[in-house]
């Protein structure tokens, strides 16, 4: 009996584009992965046949299209691996292992009470499939999205037309001037959510996640965070990518298989890797 749910596929790059600066995105033909992937899951991409760099690189899915058999990822060039990928071109085939991680689906709770997404920088990418699913299921959705400046904001596509997208830039070039957490706090304090108790899902730099956690605590909102970590295997066997458990519990969770999505109260955000 084949118990496998994670596929290692030769995926053809359908499209690869430099969004601007060091930001890239690509669309990969990977029907086996696209068929079962959930929002907030990730894939582990091999950089080639060379042993240097040795490990695959993990990327959240920024697009999941089972109908077309494709998946999308979005990345910023931050090191050798992402630099190599930036040099790839459409038509090339790459090894892709996935879908990986727990992921997050839109459940009854989200549909009844709504969903608030809080993203910083490239953190908007993995939240995009979740937002699409929320809209499909007619859950009430609000998006808070911040970056350093207008030029670093990723295109939120059709989201703007379908739901409230609150933008923040640190230099004030677009939307609220300041951090996205400042905007979130201001809107919540102004009663923007009424009496609702939506689930907040956040993805972005660790200091931002910490700040979002404080805000949600103050306003009594449940918070899910999606973590990034440097990984070796990505599928749970090496125990390398851990985050400390919170609430006086001993030990660690693995970001790759226990996460990447965690209830904020379950983990110590102050000490996570990556």
């Amino acid at each position: 009996m084949d118990l496998r749910q994670i596929h290692d596929v030769d995926a053809r790059i359908v499209r690869l584009s430099n969004i601007r600066g060091n930001l890239y995105s690509m669309c990969l033909e990977a029907p086996e992965i696209a068929r079962t992937a959930k929002p907030m899951q990730f894939v582990n991409i091999a950089l080639g046949d060379s042993t240097d760099p040795l490990l695959r690189r993990p990327f959240s899915l920024s697009g999941i299209h089972p109908d077309r058999g494709t998946i999308g990822i979005t990345w910023a060039v931050v090191g050798r691996g992402t630099q190599i990928m930036a040099g790839w071109q459409a038509g090339r085939s790459v090894r892709v292992l996935g879908p990986l991680g727990n992921g997050l689906g839109i459940d009854r709770l989200c549909i009844d009470h709504g969903l608030v997404l809080v993203a910083g920088g490239t953190g908007i990418a993995p939240l995009t499939p979740l937002a699409s699913q929320a809209l499909e299921k007619e859950a009430e959705l609000q998006v808070f999205y911040g970056a350093r400046s207008a030029s670093e904001l990723l295109d939120t596509g059709d989201l703007g037309a379908a739901c409230m997208v609150h933008l923040a830039t640190e230099d004030g070039s677009v939307g609220f001037g300041g951090l996205v957490t400042g905007l979130l706090e201001a809107r919540l304090s102004a009663g923007a959510l009424g009496n609702g108790r939506p689930t907040v899902v956040s993805c972005g730099p660790k200091p931002m996640l910490n700040h979002v956690k404080q805000i949600c605590n103050r306003h009594g909102l449940p918070l899910l965070v999606s973590l990034e970590a440097r990984m070796a295997c990505g599928y749970g066997v090496c125990q390398g990518c851990v985050v400390p458990r919170a609430g006086g519990k001993q030990g660690y969770y693995r970001v790759c298989t226990d996460g990447p999505v965690f209830r904020a109260e379950d983990i110590e955000l102050g000490e996570c890797t990556g």
């Binding site: 990984m231 070796a232 066997v237 125990q239 030990g251």
Partner: protein
């Protein structure tokens, strides 16, 4: 083509073993691979009491290599024997229980605990973990201590006994002979090489534990040399490991004197590697008219 091999009384259908610490207890692996691709599996290093492991960061990529300092995170022997092994046994692939302890008394107690499990085909005594403060590598760097630890396990365990050795010594042959004198039926080599990495931005070591064990293709030449030396110095079978990422790598180890090979870091990159390595060994042998794997064990020095 006969791929079967023997490791100190343990019969394997093929020579490819999952290296301890890169397979967990199989629960995650089955989602990405098939346990039956392996000739045997060595479970995550297990201690008597549960261990939380080392603080992160626990891994760091290096040129063609991987540093890790997991620190023997495991749920403890009771959980492993009571829950993990009965579950893993369903795949009918021989299970090698890798055990780690801080004293000979503990080694003896652990061996006794595993001796009561019907699911263990062999014990692998870890005298070579570089990432724990007490025990671990200390047993593997002294011939006397290696002898004592092996003897302690031998008295409590009647089945196939493997000792996993560290390369972080002046002469592995002396340690290997001590393990065999202590009662080892086979030897696993090599465990990781102690190394480190420094982050020039923070001016601090990358790993939370400061040092870690280096694995992957970067250590393959060292591992091959160790297998070459040790397999000629002792009469027991050797399980070769260290950076195996292809059938060619595996064949090199076999020709250096390994009766079986283990895949560790390679498994982290490609869960299907055991199937590919076994297939590649088979194709190589068939293309050369080699009918049994045993014909090429130690071929490079025989």
């Amino acid at each position: 083509m006969n791929l079967s091999t023997h490791i100190g009384g343990l019969a394997l259908e093929n020579p490819v073993i999952a290296a301890s610490g890169t397979f967990g207890y199989g629960e995650e692996y089955i989602k990405a691979g098939d346990v039956s691709w392996f000739g045997a599996v060595s479970i995550k290093g297990t201690t008597i009491a549960p261990r939380a492991g080392n603080p992160p960061p626990r891994t760091c990529e290096t040129p063609s290599g991987l540093l890790n300092s997991i620190g023997l995170e495991n749920p403890g022997a009771r959980v492993v024997i009571g829950q993990k092994l009965p579950w893993l046994a369903r795949f009918s692939v021989p299970i090698i229980a890798n055990i780690s302890a801080v004293s000979c008394e503990e080694f003896s107690e652990l061996a006794g605990m595993f001796a009561k499990s019907p699911h263990v085909s062999a014990l692998e005594v870890n005298v070579s973990c570089p990432n724990v403060k007490a025990g671990g590598i200390a047993f593997g760097t002294s011939a006397d201590m290696c002898y004592e630890a092996t003897r302690a396990v031998r008295k409590a365990w009647k089945g196939p006994l493997i000792v996993k050795l560290t390369p972080n010594v002046a002469d592995m042959r002396a340690i290997a002979k001590a393990a065999v004198e202590g009662g080892a039926d086979a030897l696993s080599l090599i465990n990781t090489l102690v190394g480190m990495a420094i982050d020039i931005h923070s001016m601090r070591p990358v790993l939370g534990n400061i040092t870690g064990g280096l694995s992957g293709p970067a250590i393959k030449p060292v591992a091959l040399r160790c297998v070459w030396e040790v397999s000629q110095a002792v009469s027991v079978p050797v399980i070769g490991m260290g950076g195996i990422c292809s059938a060619t790598d595996a064949l090199e180890f076999i020709m250096a004197g390994a009766s079986a090979v283990a895949i560790g870091t390679g498994l982290l990159i490609d869960p299907e590697l055991p199937r590919k390595v076994t297939q590649g060994i088979k194709e190589y042998c068939e293309s050369r008219g080699i009918e049994s794997l045993q014909e090429i064990v130690g071929a490079a020095w025989r």
